[in-house]
Each structure stands twice: as C-alpha cells, then as structure tokens.
C-alpha cells in the first residue's frame, strides 16, 4: 500500500493505492474504490472506477498532464518520499520548473526578446513563435538570468528544439 497526495486545479486529496498493475484499490477517507485500466491506443486508457467509465489520455511528454473524458488536468502525484521532502521544506513543484525552454510547437521563431546575461522575471516574454498562421508568445516559467540562446530570429525550429536556457 502506498500513500499519495494528488493535487490539481487547487484541489488536493490524499489516497492510498494498493496494487501496481492495471488493477488498483484506491482508499480515500472512508471510501474504497476499485480502479481498473486497460490501454485502448498508445497513451489512451479506458478506466473503470467502481464501474464508472472514463477515457483517460496520458501525455507523458508534458510532465503529468492527464486528460479525462477530454478535459485536460495538470496533475501532481506526490508519493511518500516527496511528501516527506516537502515536510523538510523542499517544494518538489519548483524543482520541476527547469530553466531550459524548448519549442512546444514546430514553427518560425520571429522574435527573441533577450540576450545572454539578461535578467528575466517569471512571466516575462522570452520569444515569439509563429505556427498555424498565429503568433505565440512564450513566457519565462522562472526568474533568473539568460544563460544561453540556441536559435536566431527567423529560424524555423522543430518541436523540442531548445530555445533559451535560464538559470
């Protein structure tokens, strides 16, 4: 039996999971739920939880984004180790926010707002990328100093290309 904390959209719930294959027993408070998952297509599962039916997409590239019956949820699943670390003052979420920003979509980098050495705040615009006839502004996920810029303005990039590193 493993203890977890599940956090999403300002909601938090504690649960104990028993089993580690596609069949779990999930206990939360007074409730005990039978959870059963089967893969339908790569990344898509049919889940029955106490006979309630859900189609669940799991997108492992974007850490912890899960899609339930079409609704995307950004999830934090904290196990006992993470919970303990948090008690000690570590915030696991912050750790995740890496400073290496890559292109989430393939497209044309039309504008880079900073040079190496610039200070940026969380939420500052970093660069513009044009795809599907639309311009998308990419903001900094963290505050820090621009360490490296991997592309030049006007360059076409594939998805996943590293654009800017911040530390």
């Amino acid at each position: 039996m493993m203890k977890f904390e599940i956090n999403a959209n300002n909601r938090s719930i504690e649960a104990n999971f028993t089993g580690e294959s596609s069949e779990l027993v999930i206990k939360t408070g007074e409730n005990e739920l039978r959870f059963e998952a089967i893969q339908v297509q790569p990344g898509v599962h049919s889940v029955l939880m106490n006979n309630r039916s859900f189609v669940v997409g799991v997108c492992p590239n974007e850490a912890n984004r899960v899609n339930i019956n079409g609704t995307p949820i950004n999830l934090e699943l904290l196990d006992a180790v993470h919970l303990h670390l948090r008690e000690l003052g570590w915030d696991s979420l912050k750790e995740v926010k890496a400073g290496l920003i890559s292109a989430q979509i393939p497209g044309l980098v039309t504008k880079i707002f900073h040079g190496a050495g610039d200070e940026v705040s969380e939420g500052d615009p970093l660069f513009l990328i044009e795809a599907m006839k639309m311009e998308n502004e990419i903001k900094s996920p963290i505050a820090g100093t621009v360490k490296r810029i991997g592309v030049t303005e006007g360059q076409t990039v594939e998805k996943g290309t590293n654009i800017i590193e911040i530390e």
Binding site: F4, I6, A8, N9, R11, I13, A15, F17, E20, S21, S22, L24, I26, T28, L33, F35, A37, I38, Q39, V40, Q41, P42, G43, V44, H45, V47, M49, R52, F54, V55, V56, G57, V58, P60, N64, V66, N67, I68, N69, G70, T71, P72, I73, N74, L75, L77, Q104, I105, P106, G107, A131, M132, K133, M134, N136, K159
Partner: protein, 500 residues
C-alpha cells in the same frame, strides 16, 4: 453540367465540396502540398496533383501552378473553397482568362466588397444602413462634436492606425467628448505612431448576424435567412447557430431585404454572405460582405435543406436558382461548433502531432464536416481548424442537448482541441438562454475557463490512478495493460511476421 472540377483548397472544405461534386456525378481533382500527400482530400479525390512544398505561399496560394494543373487535368471549373485564393481577384480573372469557370462571384464584386471603404461607399448609395460615423479622421474638434451629436451618444472613438482596443474610447456624453478625443489621439500616437482617430456610433450589446445570399446569372437573388455568429474569441467565430435567438420575423424580413439589396448593388453572382451588426435596440448596420462560401454555411444547410455547394455549382454552370425566395423555409435549429487544434488551457496555443485515437460523434442530426483520420499528423503549416460539428434538432433546446451529447462523445487523442471549450460555452446559462452578444467571451471568460478546469474528487482519483498506472507501465517496459495476447489483423500480422 461540368464533368470535372478542381478544388483549389485542402482540409474540411475541400472534402465538403468534393462530397457534393460526387453526388452530382462530377469528377473531382485535388491539389496538395508536400505536407498533405496522404490527407483525406487526396484519398477522396478522383485525381490528385502535387503543387509544391508545405508553406501555402508555395502551394495552395501558388495559382499559376494550380491553373497549370487545371489545364492538365481537363477540369472545366475551379472551386476555391474559403480562405486561400477564394477572394483573390487576380486569381478569379486568370481562371476566367484560361477559359475555366471560377465558382464564385465576378472579380468586380470581389473587388468592391474586399475593400472596406469601397464597400461602405457602395452601401451609402443604397437603403442599407451602415454604422454612422465620420468617414475621415477627425481634423476639427467642434465639427467632430457636431457629428457625434448627430449620431447620438454614446459614440466610439477609434484609432485609424491600428486595432486591438488601443486608442479606443467610449464617450457617453458631449461634455466628455473633447477630453476623450485628446486621450485617444495621444494613446493612438504612442501605440501606432499615428494619432488620427475616427468617430463611430457605439453599438450597445452588439450581435454579429449574417445573411446567406444566393444569386444566379439571370438576375435572381435570394437570401436563406440568418446565422447568429456573436460567439467570438478575438474576432474569430467559435459557435454559430440558425435561427438567431435574438431575431424576430419582422427584423428577419427587413435584414433579408437589405442583404439582397447589398448583393444586387455589386451585381453579385453565386453564394455570398452579408454581415451585419445589430444593437440591443435591434438597429442593424452593414458590416461587410464575404464573397465566398462561409465556414459556417452548414447551419444554413441544416435548417433550409439547401445544399449551398450544389447551388454554387449550378449557378456557375449558368443554371437558374433551384428555389425562389418564397420557397425558402426553415425547419428546426442548427448549431455549429468549430473544433480547433488548440490548447484552450494555454491561451489557445496551436497543438500539433499525431491523432492517436479518434471517435467522431454520429447519429441522428449529427454532422461533422472535417478532414481528419486516426493516425494522421496535424502539421503546423495551416489553419488549426480540424472541422465543424453541426447538430440539428427540432428546437433550440434539443439542438443544445444534442450538441452537448456530441461534444461529450467526440474524442481526439494525441493533440489538444477546443472540444471541451465548446462544451463549456454550450453549457453556459447565458448561451443556453440565448441572451448573449459579441461580448460573451470577454464577459464570461473566467467562468468558461473555470468550468474547463473544474475537477471533482472522483476525477482527481481517476487522474491519480491513471498516472500511477502509466508510470508503472513505463517502469516495467510494457505497453499493454492486458496480459491477454491481442489478435491483430491479418494485414498487420503478416507484415510483422515477415519483418522479424
């Protein structure tokens, strides 16, 4: 009638046009870019020609190449769809010069209606109302105040040099006017380097309502009632419906007449759309005319039963309209939801990748005009619209229920889409009551996005269990959550076997 038509477009509209062509016994010629070699419109067509690399400037907009294909294939007519070359007067002229029929209005009508100033001037010669205002930027402040008084307050001050709300001011009373103009001019100057501003009547709770027009070459012009298009996000339509819950029969008749007059004023031929703004007092004003098939044309088809593409083709072949104005009647209610490959949770950023699972809703009154397939790749090169879900039922409430059911049934795995966003709109009380205007999205943005990310405890547990299961699967290097051996198709088995 034509024997062969080239469709100078891609995606859902190419497929939409081809369906009607084939029902009319007309062969269809597709054109495709490098990125679209296995796109649905290519697989559907009788013939398909490669016209260039992925970027549309080198392929779908490359009209010398498209004309070359039309000639080589022996196509007698070209349907441009919407977007791309559909409102390009040069293309329309070149097609005609090549002795091929352009399925659309004459180049002269495209030209007049494609230019806002020319269109406004054309309208001023008719009985069709346009939004009152100054035609030139404000030079003399006291003259401008006279105009504002004539129009009646509130008025809107708008920047001549740009948009997006910058340099824009609503003025409610004459004594605020001079001050507001000054502020708008300074803001405009700083935003666009151009301090000129106009005055326009401020429309309260405006509706975006458009009328479908059909006109033949024999002088007959009819309208097929309205579409309510006020649900917009950044001037992009999201959901359209017909009839409009805001328009009564009296206003419908008046606006229909104005729409026909608009079309006649530019000697329009073919299918077109006259867009109006209607304020809370039910005053209507000409906005613009779209000289092509509209994205949202299916809602009109669903309530009138008229195949608009078939009418376009018949008109282009010189036939008279199949219907007189008096024959046009509507049955029931239709709602269209546009489905985009966009991530509503991240400011509608475009989403690309492979569609790993696809379940398109179906059943009574449920139509999907799309061009997608499981296993297909959504590329970054073109408009992110995947298709349109159109639901019809006897009355508006049933059509809303059907739309909600169909959106819930719709599953696209592998990319982000606006399916759930549309569902949030359809479920919203103000939308259900039909009391919305063009401010709907701005007014209820927060509610809509809160609904999108609303999470029950049950959903949270399903999410947690699924993520745990998924991580376990990866840890143990197994894709299959079932221990049972999966029998696959002969086709696949044989290939796998031989390639071992």
């Amino acid at each position: 009638m034509f024997k062969k038509i080239l469709i100078a477009n891609r995606g859902e509209i190419a497929l939409r046009v081809m369906r009607t062509c084939r029902e009319m016994g007309i062969e269809v010629v597709a054109v495709f870019s490098e990125a679209d070699r296995t796109a649905p419109h290519v697989l559907f067509a009788d013939e398909a020609y490669h016209i260039g690399p992925a970027p549309s400037t080198h392929s779908y907009l490359n009209y010398p190449k498209i004309l070359e294909v039309a000639r080589a294939s022996g196509a007698e007519a070209i349907h441009p769809g919407y977007g791309f070359l559909s409102e390009n007067t040069d293309f329309a002229s070149e097609v005609s010069k090549a002795g091929i029929v352009f399925i659309g209005p004459p180049a002269s009508a495209i030209k007049i209606m494609g230019d806002k100033t020319m269109a406004r001037q054309a309208m001023l010669k008719t009985q069709v109302p346009v939004v009152p205002g100054t035609e030139e930027p404000i030079a003399d402040i006291s003259r401008a105040l006279e105009v504002a008084n004539d129009i009646g307050f509130p008025v809107l001050i708008k920047a001549a040099g740009g948009g997006g709300g910058k340099g824009m001011r609503i003025v409610n009373a004459p004594d605020e006017f001079e001050d507001a103009v000054g502020k708008a001019q300074r803001e405009s100057q700083s935003a666009f380097g151009d301090g000129r501003v106009y005055i326009e009547k401020y429309l309260e709770e405006p509706h975006h309502i458009e009328f479908q027009i059909l006109a033949d070459t024999h002088g007959n012009t009819i309208h097929l009632n309205e579409r309510e298009c006020s649900i917009q996000r950044r001037y992009q339509k999201v959901i359209e419906e017909s009839p409009s819950p805001f328009i009564d029969d009296d206003l419908r008749t008046k606006m229909g007449k104005a729409a026909v007059e608009t079309a006649e004023s530019c000697k329009y031929v073919g299918a077109g759309t006259v867009e109006f703004l209607v304020d809370k007092y039910r005053n209507f004003y000409f906005l613009e005319m779209n000289t092509r098939l509209q994205v949202e044309h299916p809602v009109t088809e669903m309530v009138t039963g008229v195949d608009l593409v078939a009418e376009q083709i018949r008109i282009a072949a010189g036939q008279t309209l199949s219907h007189k104005q008096i024959d046009i009647s509507t049955t029931g209610h239709a709602i269209e939801c546009r489905i985009y490959a966009e991530d509503a949770a991240h400011d509608f950023a475009p989403s690309t990748g492979e569609i790993v699972m696809l379940q398109i809703p179906d059943g009574a009154g449920t139509r999907f005009d799309g061009a997608i397939r499981q296993g297909i790749e959504i590329t970054p090169y073109y408009d992110p619209m995947l298709g349109k879900l159109i639901c019809w039922a006897h009355d508006r409430e049933s059509a809303l229920n059907r739309s909600e059911r169909a959106l819930r049934e719709f599953y696209i795995g592998g990319i982000e889409t606006t399916i759930q966003f549309c569902r949030s709109v359809i479920k919203h009380n103000t939308f259900r009551e039909g009391t919305y205007d063009t401010h709907f999205y701005t007014n209820f943005m927060d509610e809509l996005h809160a609904d999108l990310s609303a999470t029950t405890e049950e959903v949270l547990l399903v999410a947690g269990g699924s993520l745990f299961h998924h991580q376990n699967q990866i840890k143990h290097g197994s894709h299959s959550s079932s221990s049972k051996k999966k029998t696959r198709s002969n086709w696949v088995n044989a290939q796998l076997g031989r390639n071992k």
